[in-house]
Amino acid sequence: MKGNRGRTLRSLWRSGVDHMATALAILATVLVVAPLIAIFFYLVYKGASSLNWAFFTQIPKPEGEVGGGMANAIVGSAVVLFVASLFGIPIGIGGGIYLAEFGRGTRLANAVRFTADVLNGVPSIVMGIAAFSLIVVPMHHYSALAGGVALGIMMIPTVTRTTEEMLLMVPHSVREAALGLGVPNWRSVISITLKTASPGVITGCMLAFARVAGETAPLLFTALGNQFWSVSLNHEISALPLQIYNYAISPYDDQHRQAWAGSLVLIALIVIAVSLVRFFTSRGTLKGAS
C-alpha cells in the first residue's frame, strides 16, 4: 500500500512539474510577444496620429518651431541606401559565387566564410569609425558617400552567405546540362546557376537591405545629418534613422511627434521589404540534390 501511494504521489509530482513547465514556457512566450505588441501599438498609435502630408513633402523647420517634415531624410536615406547597395550587393554576390562555385571545400573558402561571419558580428558603431577614418578623414568632410560605404560593408556578409546557400541548392545536373551544351562556365554561372537561384539571392539582398536601412550608428559620423535638401554624395546628408535619433533626444514635443511618425515610416519600409522577401521565397526555388 505504502509503495503504491508513493508511486501515485511521485507521478502526481511529475505531472505537476510537467504542467508547470508548460505554463512557464507559455508565460515566456507571452512575455516575449507582449513588448512586440506594445512597440507596434505605440508605433501605429503615435505614428499614425502624427503623420501628415507635410511630413513627406517638407524639410525640417528650425528647432522649436512646430511643423515641417522629413522629406530630406527620406530622400537622404534612399541616396545612402542606393550607394550601400551599389557597393555591397555586387561584392557580396561575387563572394557568394566564389564560395559556392569555385572555392568549395578549399581552406581559403572556409577562411572567407569565417571572415564573413566575423564581419557580420562587428558592431555597427565600429563600422562607423572605420568608414570615418577610411573616407571622412582623407576627404576632410562628412559625406553621403562615407555613410553609404559604411552600410555597404555591413550588407556584404549577409548577401554573401545567402547567395552561397542558395547557389548550393541548385542541382548539379542543371550546371552539367549547361556545360554539356557548350556554354562557357562563366556564362553558365551567371545565366543558369545564379538565375535559378535568383529568388533566394534576392531574398538575401532584401534582408541585408532591411537590416542596414534602420542602422543609425554607422551614419552618426559619416553622413552626419543635415537639415536641408541635399542629394549630393559629397556633402553631409540626412537619413531617416538619424533624424529619428536627433528628434527623440530633443526637448521639443513636436519633434517627438515627428520621431514617432518617422519610425512608423521606417518600419513600414522595412516590413514591406521583408514581405516582398516572403513573396519572392514563397514562389519557390528549384530545389534538388546538390
Binding site: 515566456a28 512597440i39 562587428v122 572605420a130 562557357p184 562563366w186 533566394g200 543609425t216 550608428a217
Partner: protein
C-alpha cells in the same frame, strides 16, 4: 585533349548519377561530404571548354570579391589600430583599468575630455552590466519561447509566432530606443522600480545578506529612481537580443533527432522530462553558443542603449544609476570630439569593442556549428 580518349569515367558516373551514388546519410550536409564538391562530369566538361580565358577572368573576379571581404576586415583592424596609436602611446594598457582621483571631491575621475583624462573603465563596466542584465532577462525567456515553439506549440500557431519573433529582429535599434525613452523609462520609473526597490532594500535582506553588498542603499537598487540608467539599458537590450537567441536555440533544438525524443517518451517520461533529458541536454552546447552570440550582439549594440543609459562616465553598483557603455560613448562624443587625443581614445574604445566581439562571435559560431553541422544548412 587526352581526356577525349578516356570516356569511361564519364560514362560510369553518368549512370550512377553524381548525387545518388554517394547518397549521404540523412541529416548530413551533402556538399561537405564530397571533397571539392565537383562531379566528374562537371570536371570533364570544364576541362573540355574552349573559353578558359574568360572563365579564368570570371573566376578571378569572383575570387577578388571573396578576398575583398578579407581585405575589409583587415582594413578595419588596421585603421582602428593606427588611429588609436595616439592614446595607446599616452596611456598604454592602464587605459582600461586605471583612474584618477578628483582633487576636490576625492571621487574617482575616469573621463574628462576637457582636462585630457581618458580612462575607459566606466564604459567597460557599463557594457558588461547592461549585457549581464540583458542576458539574465533574455536567456530564460528565449529558452522558454524556443521550448514552446519546438515542443509544445500547436501547429497552427508556429508560423505566426516565429514570424512575430522574426519581426522583432527587424525593428531598427533607434526605434527600440525611441520606444524605451517614451514608454519603457516611465514604466520602469513609475511601476516596476517601485516594486523592486522595496524588495531589494527590505530590512531582512539588508540585515542577513547585506555583506554581499547587493542590498540596501548602496546595493543594486540604491539611489535615485530616474527610470533611465543601466537597468533600462539592460531591459531594452534584452528585448533586442531575445529574437536572436530564441531563433538559434530553436534551430539547435530542431536538430536534435526525433529518435531521442521518442526514446525518452517510450521510457515513460512526461513531456517536460523528455524536453529536459532528450532535447535540452543534447542541445546544451548549441544553446550556450546562441547565448554567446546574443551576448556579442548586446556588447556592440549602440543606439538603444545610448538613448536610455544616461550617459555619465561613472561607476556605481546600483542598476538605477546612470552609466555609459563602450558603444554609447563613441556614439555620443565622436563627432564632437574636442581634441585628437579624445578622438583617438574613443577609437581605442572602439578597437577594444571590435576585438571583444570578434572573440565572442568566434566562440559562439564554433559552438553553434559543433551542434548543427549534422543538419542541412538553412537560411536565417
Amino acid at each position: 585533349m587526352t581526356d577525349l580518349r578516356v570516356p569511361n569515367p564519364v560514362a560510369t558516373t553518368l549512370q550512377n548519377g553524381p548525387s545518388e551514388s554517394t547518397a549521404p546519410a540523412i541529416g548530413q550536409m551533402p556538399e561537405t561530404s564530397t571533397p571539392r564538391g565537383i562531379s566528374a562530369v562537371r570536371k570533364y566538361l570544364l576541362s573540355r571548354g574552349n573559353s578558359s580565358g574568360s572563365d579564368r577572368l570570371f573566376a578571378g573576379a569572383m575570387l577578388l570579391c571573396a578576398l575583398a571581404i578579407f581585405a575589409l576586415v583587415a582594413l578595419i583592424a588596421v585603421e582602428l589600430v593606427t588611429q588609436s596609436q595616439l592614446s595607446w602611446h599616452a596611456f598604454g594598457l592602464p587605459f582600461f583599468y586605471r583612474y584618477n582621483v578628483d582633487p576636490v571631491t576625492h571621487l574617482p575621475l575616469f573621463w574628462d575630455p576637457v582636462n585630457g583624462v581618458f580612462y575607459a573603465l566606466p564604459f567597460i563596466y557599463g557594457t558588461l552590466m547592461t549585457s549581464l542584465v540583458a542576458l539574465c532577462i533574455a536567456v530564460p525567456l528565449a529558452i522558454g519561447l524556443a521550448v514552446f515553439l519546438t515542443e509544445m506549440c500547436p501547429r497552427w500557431m508556429r508560423a505566426p509566432l516565429s514570424f512575430f519573433t522574426e519581426l522583432l529582429a527587424a525593428i531598427p535599434s533607434v526605434v527600440y530606443g525611441l520606444w524605451a525613452i517614451f514608454v519603457l523609462v516611465p514604466l520602469l520609473r513609475e511601476h516596476i522600480n517601485p516594486i523592486l526597490i522595496p524588495i531589494f532594500n527590505a530590512p531582512i535582506l539588508t540585515r542577513t545578506l547585506g555583506w554581499t553588498g547587493l542590498f540596501g542603499d548602496n546595493g543594486l537598487f540604491g539611489g535615485v529612481n530616474l527610470g533611465l540608467g543601466i537597468l533600462c539599458g539592460g531591459v531594452i537590450l534584452a528585448i533586442m537580443i531575445l529574437p536572436i537567441i530564441a531563433s538559434l536555440t530553436r534551430e539547435v533544438m530542431n536538430s536534435v533527432p526525433n529518435s531521442q525524443r521518442e526514446a525518452a517518451l517510450a521510457l515513460g517520461a512526461t513531456r517536460w522530462e523528455m524536453i529536459r533529458m532528450a532535447v535540452l541536454r543534447n542541445a546544451r552546447i548549441g544553446i550556450v553558443g546562441s547565448v554567446i552570440l546574443g551576448l556579442g550582439r548586446a556588447l556592440g549594440e549602440t543606439m538603444a542603449v545610448a538613448m536610455v543609459i544616461g550617459n555619465s562616465p561613472e561607476i556605481h553598483l546600483s542598476l538605477l544609476s546612470m552609466g555609459h557603455s563602450m558603444a554609447s560613448v563613441i556614439a555620443n562624443e565622436f563627432s564632437e570630439a574636442t581634441s585628437d587625443m579624445h578622438r583617438s581614445a574613443l577609437i581605442e574604445v572602439g578597437l577594444a569593442l571590435f576585438l571583444v566581439t570578434i572573440v565572442v562571435n568566434a566562440v559562439a559560431r564554433i559552438l553553434v556549428w559543433a551542434v548543427t553541422r549534422g543538419t542541412p544548412a538553412r537560411v536565417q
